[in-house]
């Protein structure tokens, strides 16, 4: 008897039966359920488990239940069709034309004739139904009446009734159970096996007799989806932290911008191809902004002297969506901050591009400016080299290029893995730009797109994935924590 390992529910069943049943006696499962106060379906399952462990014996018992069908009940009440036929014949002197019988019996005609003929009560000759003899009893009725009274009937009688669909016979199985020994003595010696420890086990002290079931520790756990911060926002915040570490102060401005700050202040001539609806988003509403006269005058003088075209102040006031965050740098310089200083901004910029896997009409740019009474192009490249190392980029290439607002101007290519990405433009602001903005010290500047670097880091092929609203994608993207540790990208 020792050494039985029971589950908690098996244990609970046995405990509930303590003192209520005797060993060696057969009980039905219904009785057990009733005694234990547990519902029948779980009792059945538990008893089977107990039987497997040899604590109880089970026996199935089949019982037949006979029930009278609706037709049978009707015959009992209203009379059998053959009975009706006989009494009709008796009424009419034992001989009636079949047509008339049909009228009287309706749809029961064929049943009545078949059974009355089989029993030898009638015969039919040339369309006339004739009574042979007056019957004494009908066996079917006698059997049915016995059934109603609950008296036993013979198999043969039953078969007859079944053929006429007057009764239905259903087989029912019930489970009988017999305990080998008294539950009270069993529960004292069992070990309880539990799936998970609960507070109740601890409070009741049950855990002392409990054994926790061993897990298949290698099985896959259920999937969990935590609330998570967005990977691209995380990346942007990380870049902000690096800029802060490098002594840059964050600034921002609205992405709706005047052409003045986006282009004119940056010495980009008004006929420059980028200043057209094929490259820049122009606003329908609102259309025009405001700039201080002094700034307009300086831009006019500088543009006209250098480029030789009549500079149109009206054009400078036109509102656009900024095409680069250098507009923000221009704005802060126009406030004439005292050097040395380092400023940065990260914001969205807009260009007329169709949406495809490599292009979006909006993306993010980081713009940084650094000024000192002596700051050089070599300082700028040094500052950038420091920045690249901090984001985990070791190799970069510098290539001279042209921007209207810087001289020299350079593009920088970063090696990320085994691809070279052109992500950055930089240079020293031209004296013309500084003159327009009213600044008398050199300023180094750079602008960098963030999307392509983020794509390389997160292994994305399609730029649109950075803006995906698909919850499944966002829940499943992996963080790249090691990037933040400054490890090589």
């Amino acid at each position: 008897m020792l050494g039985y390992r029971l589950s908690e529910s098996e244990y609970r069943l046995l405990s509930a039966l303590k003192g209520k049943i005797r060993a060696g006696v057969w009980y039905s499962s219904d009785e057990i359920a009733h005694l234990a106060g547990i519902d029948r379906s779980s009792v059945e399952a538990l008893l089977r488990l107990l039987a497997d462990k040899g604590i109880v014996e089970l026996r199935e018992e089949e019982t037949k239940q006979v029930s009278i069908t609706d037709v049978g009940k009707r015959y009992l009440a209203e009379g059998f069709p053959e009975e009706k036929l006989v009494s009709f014949l008796l009424e009419r002197g034992g001989k009636v034309e079949i047509n008339e019988v049909a009228k009287h019996l309706g749809e029961e005609l064929s049943i009545a004739i078949a059974h009355a003929t089989r029993k030898g009560w009638i015969r039919i000759d040339k369309g006339v139904v004739m009574l042979n003899k007056k019957p004494e009893t009908i066996e079917e009725r006698t059997t049915l009446e016995k059934l109603t009274r609950g008296e036993p009937v013979s198999e043969e009688d039953l078969r007859l009734l079944r053929r006429r669909r007057l009764v239905e016979i259903m087989t029912k199985t019930r489970t009988l159970v017999r305990f080998r020994s008294d539950p009270s003595s069993i529960v004292e010696h069992v070990v309880i096996e539990i799936g998970s420890l609960t507070r109740d086990h601890i409070v009741s002290g049950l855990w002392r007799r409990a054994v926790l079931r061993e897990y298949n520790v290698a099985a896959e756990p259920p999937r969990l989806y935590p609330g998570r911060t967005h990977f691209f926002v995380d990346f942007i915040e990380y870049i902000r932290d690096i800029m802060k570490e490098m002594g840059f102060v964050e600034i921002e401005y609205t992405p709706v911008e005047l052409e003045y700050w986006n282009y004119d202040a940056l010495f980009q001539p008004q006929h420059h191809p980028a200043r057209s609806p094929t490259d820049t988003f122009y606003l329908d509403t609102p259309r025009e902004g405001r700039v201080a006269d002094e700034l307009l005058v300086r831009a006019k003088n500088v543009h006209e002297k250098a480029w030789g075209y009549p500079w149109d102040p009206k054009r400078a006031l036109r509102l656009i969506l900024r095409s680069h965050t250098t507009a923000v740098s221009a704005r802060i310089l126009a406030t004439k901050p005292k050097p040395p200083f380092r400023f940065f901004t990260i914001g969205r910029v807009y260009r007329v591009e169709k949406v495809d896997p490599r292009h979006l009409p909006e993306f993010h740019q980081l713009d940084g400016i650094a000024a000192d009474y002596t700051i050089s192009f070599a300082d700028l490249i040094g500052l950038l080299a420091e920045f690249f190392e901090r984001i985990g980029v070791k190799d970069f290439k510098v290539r001279l290029t042209y921007f209207p607002f810087t001289e020299p101007s350079a593009e920088i290519y970063l090696r990320l893995g085994n691809q070279w990405l052109e992500v950055l433009g930089c240079g020293m602001f031209r004296p013309e730009v500084l003159e327009i903005l009213g600044v008398d010290y050199p300023v180094a500047a750079w602008g960098m797109g963030l999307e392509r670097i983020a794509m390389a880091i997160y292994g994305l092929e399609d730029i649109r994935q950075l803006y995906s609203l698909d919850i499944t994608f966002l829940r499943n993207i992996k963080t790249r924590w090691w990037i933040r540790a400054g490890l090589e990208i």
């Binding site: 102060v249 005047l258 030789g308 969205r348 050089s376 040094g382």
Partner: protein, 549 residues
Amino acid sequence: MPVLKFKQERVIEALGLSLAKALEVLERLKAEVSVLPDGSVELEVEVDRPDLYSLEGIARAARGLLGKETGVPRYELVNTDILVKADDVPTRPYVVAAVVWNVNVDEAFLEELIQFQEKLHNSHGKNREWVAIGLHDYDKLPSREIYYRFDDIDYVRFRPLGHDKEMTLRRVLEETEQGIKYGKISLMGGKHPVLYSGSEVISVPPVINAELTRIEPGTRNIFIDVTGVHKQLVLNVLKVLVANLAERGKGRIGLVEIHHGDYIERQPNLESKQLNVEVERISEWLGLKLDVTTIVDALKRARFDAQVFDDNRIRVSVPAYRFDVLGWVDIAEEVAIILGVNSIRPKYPEKMMRGKLLEKRYWERYARLVLAGLGFQELYSYTLVNCVKQSLITGLDKASMIVIANPVSIELDCLRSTLLVGLLEAARINTHSTPLRVFEIGDVVTRDRMSDTQTTTRSRIGILYMAYKAGYEDIQAVVYTLLRSLGDEVIEVMPYQGRPFMKGRAARIKSIQGIEGVLGELDPAILEEIGIDYPVAAAELDYTDIRRQ
């Protein structure tokens, strides 16, 4: 950036270098080079260097870079008997002209010439509006007397280039491809600029030349006219044209006299521009220790002349075709190009400076953590949205939104003024994944008459909960928990009535730390229109004015 295409043999011939060497030199001249599958060479040249739009100009720079030929190139300027008499042409007042001898046009060069002309039109001529170039076979000019007039388009007849019949200028403007494209630029009151040689039309700038003076393989000498609306631009274009064509010829350029009433001038003027530069300033700007000799040598290889004044100063002559050189910083760049950008070693920052982020960043960062902790997934969406959808959600009409005049698609024709547009789009595409808890932090832009841009940027946080049953309390609990976790407290709550919320089931709130916002249950009429068949509760909080308690 202008993209130019040349035949490989022509690159090798013009530069006198092997292809590999030629490509290397081109890279150093700031051009991006690629060899196309058909063997031709494609160059992306910067817009500031129109002198590199033709192979002869590139070769001139390359010879300098390699030290084969240095200093300002000399061209022989000779007088011609050509006289341009210019009337007042109000829509296109300036005309200049020149002759370049011995250009000797062949098939390959003719293509290059057309490419050169077109790139100049695009980069410096505002697509012919400001400057237009006419190139003619000098020897086909019927007369040395050139007239520039503003004539009635019904009375001018000629055979336009590439057409087989003579027609009126009206028909040229209205029916030919070029006419339709450029015919309106200088047309006014039925009159248009016309250039005649004697009594024959040779060009109707900026539209088309006459067949009469067509340049073709075999053409030896070229007559150039340049017309436009801004004098300096017109002169600049002429300078670069003659200087590059003269590189192909034997360097002989013919001067043309222009009479504007009593005002007489002779063009082109190829005099070099003189600039004084300081060695120290260039050194400091680039961050390179440079001495006078290095700079002088470099500038000569950049095809400038350079003379030493003293230890610190150099007098530089800039050839006329290099009108991109505006001042000493451009000289500094030339030095960097010649020495190679890699000669400038990065100087790592040494000065310690105190960096700072916007204060609101720290609020954002905590807010993101709290919401993630509450099981909300952060989203990041576009700021370009559809005006109609935004109207549906906000109730704003187009006049009070920020509407783009030239959107790339009508789906993206407004700048967002609420984060709910993106959040509801997320709800729409994620109905298979309820309950959905999402949020977004980002900027929206609204109208503001007080601002210089007529707009103001607001920092917002949007939160959305979508479920089989999603109500006011669900979102209210999140908002209150968020604020309290950040040390804030709601101080004012008022029922809110307005889109996209349901009446009686939304509120406007204010907090001690300066947050304002709305929250509530969304109107099912709006949800249905968006295509969402689950209840949604959402909030949008504005933390632009966040302040510590």
